[in-house]
Symmetry: C2
């Protein structure tokens, strides 16, 4: 299967799983379930669940493992969506549109958007409770990992620093922390969940951790570079937006050349971490290429 | 031990456990952890965790079970606190004070209050992942129950109906749903967690479920009645003023007399459900008396 066909097929699987896991709009109270489905099913590349599935395949997961990985990836995507809803609120980033549609609070009101986000976060853990854990990894490992990654020291912590950092100089260490917490951490958890679903032992899990971490950071650095170098037309969004709102970026802190060196180093590191998987790691490497091999 | 001494002692235990479980303000990013601790440690009767401990004792829980019950009760209290923080937001109930202190968003800003609430909700599940589950009740049972109770069909659902019900007529069925979802559900989960920590089988758990449900509803109906009768006495105005400002209450819908009959029925039901526990249920009965034996 070509990468394009693979991505399309897995996206379809993920969308079906999300539809299955989200409460119906007929479930009382309908409004909140409508808001939840609106935001989750608004589209998106489903990058995290697809990486979860590909990691499961790289670790030789069988049909039962892949079924678990699909559910786990969907739980991560649902948690990811709650962070988008809350980040878009007027008291946070104050965004009116996402993926070409009105944001959740624009469509359903602020109170409902807060509650829909809360409900999605809660649902992510309800979904975890429904898997049949593989031998090596008890349910506690999944719940703890999602809670720590989604919690105040990682994902939420990154958003806090982001919120507090607006309009003032952010140090290199803080920028690294924001990128690690906001992007790399949840990407890594999605990938590790795929490996854990396949009952992978410590060593491949460590390789997946390095892969996810490097991939997440590389992606973020490249995004920052492109925001500076590309025209709005090529990006499909307004270029130079980061600098305009005083947002800390890699190029702003280190200059373009150093940022390019760092992006190349992280990309190399992501690729090398897959050596352990041999042939089975090809799909993960392809996805990494798809995300990282942009001209920067 | 007198009930007063018992409540004081258990409250002290719960406060110590909460302090232990909440990240330190020195953990990065400090602000969000400060906001989390501010709201959780602002005081409060710790009703839910104390009921959890008393239910564990009623089911004959040993020292290890009581340790688990303390942790589980703290997790419920932390989840309860997140709902208070989000309910107080300007886009929800818009409250400036709680327990005589500025609400979280008044003290730390709206964005930080949203994030502190999110972080507490997430932390509640991280805490669950840390218990050693009793034989009869695997971790999945605890995670699923907290997620369902805290989710869009119960706790959040009740808040949605409350939000949507403002300024329009609420039906009797809707009012019942709001009370069940917003008050009775989490109280019941706290009590059931105590029994589950003690490895209780189906029958006592069912009794605890009826107890929690009746206790929660009775408490709410009595609160509604007191709201009306106290207001009537203070202002010298007839009951029904609450209905005029758009808040649905039992007396507004059924009248005072029917509300009193319902409160008495629910109180009796809560008491009767404890028969199964004999002597061991005394403490739970005492706490129920403390909450329900008000003049209404």
């Amino acid at each position: 299967m070509t990468l394009a066909a693979y991505l399309k097929d897995r996206q379809r699987q993920v969308d079906a799983e999300l539809k299955r896991l989200l409460p119906s709009t007929k479930t009382r109270p309908g409004t909140v379930h409508e808001a939840m489905r609106y935001s989750v099913l608004a589209g998106g590349k489903r990058l995290r669940p697809i990486l979860c599935l590909a990691a499961c395949e790289a670790c030789g997961g069988d049909a039962a493992a892949r079924k678990n990985a699909l559910t786990l990836g969907a739980a991560v995507e649902i948690l990811h969506t709650y962070t988008l809803i809350h980040d878009d609120l007027p008291c946070m980033d104050d965004d009116d549109f996402r993926r070409g549609l009105p944001t959740c609070h624009k469509k359903f009101g602020e109170g409902m958007a807060v509650l829909a986000g809360d409900a999605l976060l809660t649902l992510a853990f309800e979904i975890l409770a429904g898997i049949v854990p593989p031998k090596r990894h008890p349910l506690a490992a999944f719940v703890r990992e999602l809670a720590v990654t989604g919690g105040s020291r990682k994902l939420i912590g990154g958003q806090v620093l982001d919120l507090e950092g607006e309009g003032r100089a952010v140090t290199a260490a803080e920028l690294r922390y924001i990128h690690e917490s906001k992007t790399a951490a949840l990407l890594t958890t999605a990938i590790r969940f795929g490996g854990m679903a396949a009952n992978a032992p410590e060593k491949p899990l460590e390789a997946l951790t390095v892969f996810g971490h490097s991939l997440g950071l590389a992606f973020q650095v490249i995004d920052d570079i492109l925001d500076v170098t590309q025209t709005s037309e090529k990006l499909g969004k307004s270029a130079g937006k980061d600098a305009a709102v005083g947002k800390a970026t890699y190029p702003a802190l280190f200059g373009l050349e150093k940022s390019r060196t760092e992006a190349a180093r992280l990309t190399r590191r992501a690729r090398e971490s897959l050596a352990l998987f041999g042939e089975k790691g090809t799909r993960l490497a392809e996805i990494a290429g798809y995300l990282l091999d942009r001209e920067y």
